[in-house]
Each structure stands twice: as C-alpha cells, then as structure tokens.
C-alpha cells in the first residue's frame, strides 16, 4: 500500500480511504445504490422499450435524464448516509479511535482526514452512476430531445451536491451521536419521509424553506421539468437556498468536530 507513503495529510486520507475500500459490504452497497441502481433503471426502461416500443418510450432523452437524476440523488443520499456514518464513527466502533489519538496526532486532523476520505470514496461511485445516466440519456434518446452538454453537467453537479450535502450531514451527526445505525435511521427518516411530508404542509409557511430537501429541490435544473422533483417546489432565491444548505452542513460538521475533539476516547 505505497499510497500511504505520501505527504502527511494525503497519507492520512489515503489511510482512511483504505479502511473504507477494504469493507467489501460497504463497497457493494455503495456500488449498488449508485452504478447498480442506474444500470437497473435504464436497463429495464430500455428493455421495455425494445420489447414494446408502442407502449414504452425510449430510455434516453431529457425526461429520463430527470428520472435518472432523481434516482441518483435519492439513492445517492442513502449511500451518503451509509458512507458518511461509516467514515464518521468507523474507528470509534472498531475501538481503534483511542489508538489513533494516543499517537499524539490532533483529533481535528483525524476528523478532517476521515471527512475527506469518505468523500473521496463516495463521489466516484455517484459520478460513475450519473455518468451512466448521462450516456444512456443520449444513446437511447431514439428521437426524443437529447440533453445538452450544459444540462448534463449542471444536472450532474446538482446530483453531486445533493449527495455531498447528505454525506456531510451523516458524517457530522454520526460523530455527534457516536453510532452508525442511529445516524442512518435518523437521516433516512428525515430525507425520505419527513421532508416530503413537511414540504407539502403549506400551513407551516417559511419553515418549509429551512428544510434542506426543499432548498435542494429549488436548485433542480429547470430543463428537467417535474421529472427530477419529489413533492412541490417552493420558490426560493439562490442566496436563500445557499444559506440554508451552508448552515445545515456547517452546523453538522462543526458539531461533529466539537464532539469528536472532546469525547472520552
């Protein structure tokens, strides 16, 4: 594992990356939720189209890119919760956190390294999954409007932003609560169940705009139409969206760092 003989901070990240890559179950689940999900989604749509072109449209085109982006962001958020919580408390749960602390290396440096290592692990899977969606949306368009390069890029960035955001939440929350299972449960409940319910209750007014899922939906590329939407879109300025996302992510990461540097190891 010669990658570990790099500069100190890069070798730390490489070490954290190794911990994640060697977990076969984690690699399999992450690949399934990203590349696998996209392969299955586009594969089924295209097979149905080939079998019965009259009743099933092609797998490509802008609309199906929107569906693909939705799958990438929704299942990517699940992968983010799993990877983020593992990166956050994998050392703690394995009982080796204290052995890293007693090396004298600052806890904050260990925290930063785990944070970066998890992202370096996760994002290539998400990018690969989305790349499949992008390629499929062009190759299988079969006469439907083909997404432009600009739309492909912005949609991809939107999907990566969603996954990165939920990764940061998962990482921070895991470090605060010190448990993977609680983190995954809380985050998925919040993302998949609570967010759509709260977003649909107009009576709570501006509070809806503070929900990160609502803010992220506000960033959905307009050209995708409703295909990438989950629930109603609430009009928000870009500055307000950015503020909501930054505050949530910062709060989670700072709280995680605070807890991590003060816990009895």
């Amino acid at each position: 594992m010669s990658t570990l003989s790099l500069t100190p901070s890069r070798s730390l990240v490489a070490a954290d990356l190794v911990k994640l890559h060697r977990r076969r179950g984690l690699v399999a689940v992450t690949a399934l939720l990203t590349v696998g999900a996209m392969t299955i989604t586009y594969g089924i749509i295209e097979l149905l189209h080939v079998a019965s072109p009259a009743t099933h449209g092609p797998a490509g085109g802008i609309v199906n890119l929107g569906h693909g982006a939705w799958v990438a962001s929704a299942l990517g958020a699940v992968a983010a919760a799993i990877v983020g919580s593992m990166a956050g408390v994998g050392d703690l749960e394995a009982g080796v956190y204290r052995d890293l602390v007693v090396t004298g290396r600052s806890r904050l440096a260990l925290y930063r390294s785990r944070l970066r290592g998890g992202l370096v692990f996760l994002l290539p899977f998400v990018a690969a999954g989305y790349a499949l969606a992008g390629v499929a949306s062009v190759l299988f368009a079969d006469g439907h409007p083909v997404p432009s390069v600009s739309l492909l890029v912005t949609t991809g960035l939107w999907a990566l932003l969603q996954v990165t955001f939920y990764y940061l939440l998962a990482f921070g929350i895991a470090c605060v609560v010190g448990s993977r299972s609680y983190t995954i449960g809380v985050l998925l409940g919040f993302r998949l169940a609570l967010t759509p319910i709260l977003a649909s209750i107009s009576a709570i007014g501006i509070v809806r705009e503070l929900i990160p899922g609502v803010a992220l939906q506000g960033l959905t590329p307009a050209a995708l139409g409703d295909a990438a939407q989950q629930g109603p879109t609430i009009p928000m300025s870009t500055a307000a969206i950015a503020a909501v996302l930054v505050v949530w992510a910062l709060a989670a990461v700072v709280a995680g760092a605070w807890r991590d540097t003060r816990r009895d190891a």
């Binding site: 570990l4 052995d99 602390v101 290396r105």
Partner: protein
C-alpha cells in the same frame, strides 16, 4: 526511607520507599495531585506518581482502583479534573503531541480493524504517526513474530496475536516509553511468558515500560519498580526489592506441630500476623529483636524448633499488609 510498619503509614499518604531525589530528566512519568472525578465519584484521587527512566514499572492495584483512568489521562484520552502531569519531562496537555510521539500504548485490550490485515492496520497507524513510522513496520512485525501472518485479516487472529500486533503498533513510535494497560489479561501461560520476554527486552534496550495490572505475581516477575494503588490513591511506590524489604520483618518457623506453634506465636504481643503454610509458620513481627524470645517461648512450651529464620516477603505479602492496614485505618 519510610517503613510500612505500624508507625508512619496512613490512608491518604503516598509512601516513596526510596527518597533519593530524582532529577526531572530521570522521570518519564510524573504526576502531582492528579485527580479524576466522574460526577460524585473520584476515580483517581490526588495521585503523585514518579516513574524513573529505563525500568519496568508496575502500576498495581485491584480492579476498579483507577489504573486505567490514570493511563487514559496520561495519554490524553480523557481530561484530568485537577493536578499536573508530565510525560517524558513535557507538561501535559500543553505538549501532548510532542510527548506522545515517543510513546507507545495499549489501553485495555488491543483493538484493530478486523477487516484489514495486520500489516494494513500498522500502515494506518504509521500514516497517522508520520515521520519514519512507515519504515518501522517490517521490523516491528518481525520483532513480534507476525511476519508470516501479516497479510491475514486481523479478524482471524487469536488474542495472543492481537496482543503481539498491539506491541508492534507501539513499536512504530520507536518509543522511549510503553504504557501497557493490563497486558496479560486473557493470555495463556505461554503468552504471558512471551509477553514478559518482550517487556524485559525493551527494558534492556533502554525503554521504560509502565504496566498496569491487578496480577501481583506477574508484576513481581516482570517489573523492577512498582506503585500500589488502592481506591484511586497510590499508597506506596518504589523498587520491588525495597518494597519487599521495607515491610514488617517476617520469620519462618518450622516445628513438629505447626498448629500448636502458630497458636503460641499468635498470642505473643510482638507478633502481628501468623500464617501456617504446611509444616512452616510465617510470623510477621513488629520488632525483629523478639526472635530469641519467640524461640524460648516455643521451646518452653515443648515445641521442637527445626527452623527459625528470616523470611523474604513476597509482593503479595506486602500488598496484603498494606491493604490490611488501610482497612484498619479507615
């Protein structure tokens, strides 16, 4: 020198058996009034500990005496409620990183990522330590005899192998000081013997070992110096030889009727404690000058005295003597 006899010893006082002043450079661990409280419970109670350089130092006490808590404070795993600490002459927590760069430690049982190989686990710690740690991996594995299994997953290792891998992990720091918390726990006799060999070889290399344990026998066999801790307090510390010698004098008496002899001796006011051990009777005295008088007492009572000689107290004898006094003083 302070005796552990009936006179000066009392709860709340740490007895340094060998009061030769040590320069701060000669101490690898030094604590003053170190205290750790968990709510209303005091786990470590004003500990003054001084560990000289280049020895195997046993931190001996029953379970729950505060041994692990003290070690965790020294290693920065938990904060102290009060008091001062120095590690390798450096103040803690101010110089924690600098001090710990030269310290290897195993706290409680050695833990690893079970899904990684032994070598990968060491590579991760080497990455965290930085410097030349990576280059020490092969030597460390060889030193503990794990080269052949280095590429196997740690999840397949026995406890003894994990303990050895823990030692290898410590060696990545090329440590001046190794702190080992209950390292013999769970090891079979062969593992214990092997571990003892590691400790002695590290001491011969000039490293200092601090070894916490509740196993008196192991500390006596492995260590040169000892601190005895009881309910969060260090009650005595010094070399093991001094500790053995500084207790109340003990004589070994052998007669044809040890039960009767023990009864006679127990009735004498200068005999603090009598224990029968087969044909021999161990009598702990308050004053060695009464030995001729005890001989006359036995002979006068018709006992055939076959043996009457000073006995070397074991660490266990001293430990019991001290803790008995503590109980009585409380």
């Amino acid at each position: 020198m302070c005796t552990l006899g009936a006179g000066p010893y009392r709860r709340g006082m740490t007895t340094h058996l060998h009061e030769v002043p040590l320069d701060r450079d000669d101490l690898v661990v030094e604590t003053r009034s170190l205290t750790k409280r968990f709510g209303g419970r005091t786990a470590v109670d004003g500990v003054d500990l001084r560990v000289p350089r280049g020895v195997a130092f046993g931190y001996l006490g029953p379970n729950g005496a505060g041994k692990t808590t003290l070690i965790r404070m020294l290693l920065g795993l938990t904060t102290a409620s009060a008091g001062e600490m120095r590690l390798l002459g450096l103040p803690l927590p101010q110089s924690r990183a600098e001090a710990l760069a030269h310290v290897g430690a195993i706290v409680e049982e050695p833990r690893f990522h079970g899904h990684l190989s032994g070598r990968e686990n060491l590579e991760i710690v080497a990455a965290v330590r930085g410097g030349g740690a990576y280059r020490l991996i092969d030597d460390s594995l060889e030193r503990v005899g794990l080269t052949a299994r280095a590429r196997d997953r740690v999840g397949t290792y026995s406890l003894g192998m994990r303990q050895r891998l823990g030692i290898a992990r410590c060696l990545l720091a090329d440590p001046e000081l190794l702190i080992l918390d209950e390292p013999m726990n769970g090891l079979d006799p062969a593992g214990i013997q092997e571990f003892r060999g590691f400790v002695r070889s590290f001491v011969e290399e000039g490293r200092t070992i601090v070894l916490s344990s509740h196993l008196l026998d192991e500390v006596e066999k492995t260590c040169d110096h000892v601190a005895i801790v009881d309910r969060g307090r260090v009650v005595v510390q010094g070399s093991i030889a001094e500790l053995r010698d500084d207790g109340d004098p003990t004589v070994l008496v052998e007669t044809r009727d040890p039960v009767a002899a023990a009864g006679l001796l127990a009735g004498h006011p200068a005999v603090a404690r009598v224990t029968a051990d087969g044909p021999a009777v161990h009598a702990v005295l308050t004053d060695l000058a009464v030995v001729p008088e005890l001989n006359r007492l036995l002979v006068g009572a018709g006992q055939d005295v076959l043996r009457l000689e000073p006995a070397q107290a074991s660490l266990e004898d001293r430990f019991l003597e001290i803790t008995t006094r503590l109980e009585n003083a409380a």
